[in-house]
Symmetry: C2
Subunit: 406 residues, 2 copies
Amino acid sequence: MKTEPFQWIEGGGATSAAGWMACGVAAGLKAGRNDMAMLLSDRPAACAALFTSNKVPAAPVQYDRPLAAKGRCRGVVVNVGCANACTGRAGYADTVATGRAAAAAAGVPVEQMLVCSTGTIGRRLPMDRVLAGARAAAAALRPDGGAEAAAAIMTTDTVPKQAALRVKIGRVEYTIGGMCKGSGMICPNLATTLIFLTTDARVAPAALRAALKAAVAKSFNRVTVDGDQSTNDTCVLFANGAAGGPALSPSAPGWKKFVSALSAVALSLAKQIVMDGEGATKFVTCAVEGAASAADAYAAARTIANSPLFKAACFGGDPNWGRVICAVGNSGAKCAELKTRIFFDDVCVFDRGRLATDAENARLADVMKQRAFEVRVDLGMGRFSDAVYTSDLSHGYVSINADYTT
Amino acid sequence: MKTEPFQWIEGGGATSAAGWMACGVAAGLKAGRNDMAMLLSDRPAACAALFTSNKVPAAPVQYDRPLAAKGRCRGVVVNVGCANACTGRAGYADTVATGRAAAAAAGVPVEQMLVCSTGTIGRRLPMDRVLAGARAAAAALRPDGGAEAAAAIMTTDTVPKQAALRVKIGRVEYTIGGMCKGSGMICPNLATTLIFLTTDARVAPAALRAALKAAVAKSFNRVTVDGDQSTNDTCVLFANGAAGGPALSPSAPGWKKFVSALSAVALSLAKQIVMDGEGATKFVTCAVEGAASAADAYAAARTIANSPLFKAACFGGDPNWGRVICAVGNSGAKCAELKTRIFFDDVCVFDRGRLATDAENARLADVMKQRAFEVRVDLGMGRFSDAVYTSDLSHGYVSINADYTT
């Protein structure tokens, strides 16, 4: 193991970086819990954002996209319980009103307050509660409110998801942190669910966008629970420069280190999403190596990770490695039976035509009993590799989604 | 309803057409049941076949492909319990030996006997039992053995799947029938699982291939249970001319009627597969109309039909139509919220921005309680339509696949 050039902050999150405040409040959208959150910088900040590629984006996605494109946002207000998706022009007006109320209460320009919603599609927001909640949230902001905010944005999540670390670049120590929510409708494509990353580094919007894209590529774009991408997926990275020091940029020293630290936070959050996948009992790393191209490596890893048959076998701990090679054969990646090797952790179950022995199959069953394991496929075709992280398909997933709205 | 120009044969199947024999025998591959089947024409026959596009095809697929390409095959021998996939050169030799034994016992040229296997991937066939089973099957062939063969090829299927009909073309009455197996690993792409279609019409191999492709396009290529395509998928159509009459061909009169009758048999079998989908409790038709292109219509229908979130909602009868529009937005098809309409049977739940009323949502819940219903999306973008058939995602699916091999 190489030593990571940064220090993780235990219990850290979206308010670990200097100048950031957050909170969670109960607006009455979900009974008996906090259901709205706000995240705000105490000074001007740059921002970069990625949104769902779903062609029926929710109202807040339509609203945020042009605001985030300007590169200067101070914060975000979030509600759960209702996605405000497929609600037409009236739903869009609800988002505008929410943003207006939140910005006014927080004392920031209206175009610098983003709005995010998550929950059921095709229902209108209860606006009296949402507007009161936005005002209450602005009044409740505090520098140690990150954990409370992370808990408030949960939907079917069973645990809040946060991460933060410190990284020294030159003589300045920066903090990067974040929170996210999501456990179903998780698909490796663009940003997934709601993700908010903050830092006290000073970074111009264009550079921030490059850093975010790089960090998301191998984190949120590499996790899958069920292959569905929602109408509301949003990932925002804010940088407020509160740590001081020179502006970071791709041409300045330390940029790679910054992106690498940001990527580590993103990957930690992405893995937390998979660990908390709806009904998940297992965390499975689907790694592919020896692929003929980067696209092949990704396609093969993703197809394994999305195969309901393989995921159900993981749930049952069924040592059915045939479903892995079947998925690889289905992925479109260049492959051949007599060149393929399959490993579960350190157990080789298929070696270019040679089948696992009974002893190896018994060891495979032991590997699959673990809470987390890796399946690794060497295609023997080239030098490209990739990995996608997935959960198992359990009775819990079916139960959660069989009566989500009722 | 327009009257169909053919008569269904109750209880009919692969031996309904003249000159066809079949049987099922117990070879000891699965305890307490028949596990091998044979289907044979009593005279020379033309054949056409479609195979899985999985890049790790099983040994029998590798073996059958060149034989079927010659266009002249008399029959097929089938085993369950072991897919003989990923078994390398030794597994291929097992298939060769099986075909040789079956052909010799049935008294037909070795290159006219196809071999199919289905079951667990990555295990060798118990060859002593398979060879004895092939010989026993040849001795047990009988003209009314279709139902017995359909039962013998079942794996996780809970019911055998057969269909047959009569169609009059000119002065000759032809019979077309078939059987298939499959309930998991069902994906709309090329032929799916094992499907054997027979007719007593006289059709040359090239024409037969055209007819098969047309029939499969809107039947087996339009059903999905879990989006996985297996290593062994095979669909064969045999024509032995036993009914007499002139050769049917695309340029001869009655060809469209023949293809339409063949398509009806294929669609009946395909729907039986979905009805018997692993753990399925619902049959859901996912229809798309008003698409800007045929590709868009198919992509949207397929994405709805493959969405685990929508399928779980169908299981629970959760009136969560938001998952339908979310899937459509994800499909890549051209669409817009304010042009889209969504129906469940005759209930409109979303009309170009207008949300369902409480009364409509209540009626939606009633629709989803049925054993079978249709979700229909009008994209309002053009004139193309398509439909994909799917089952729900239930606890039964998870249970079946969590311990398939153990």
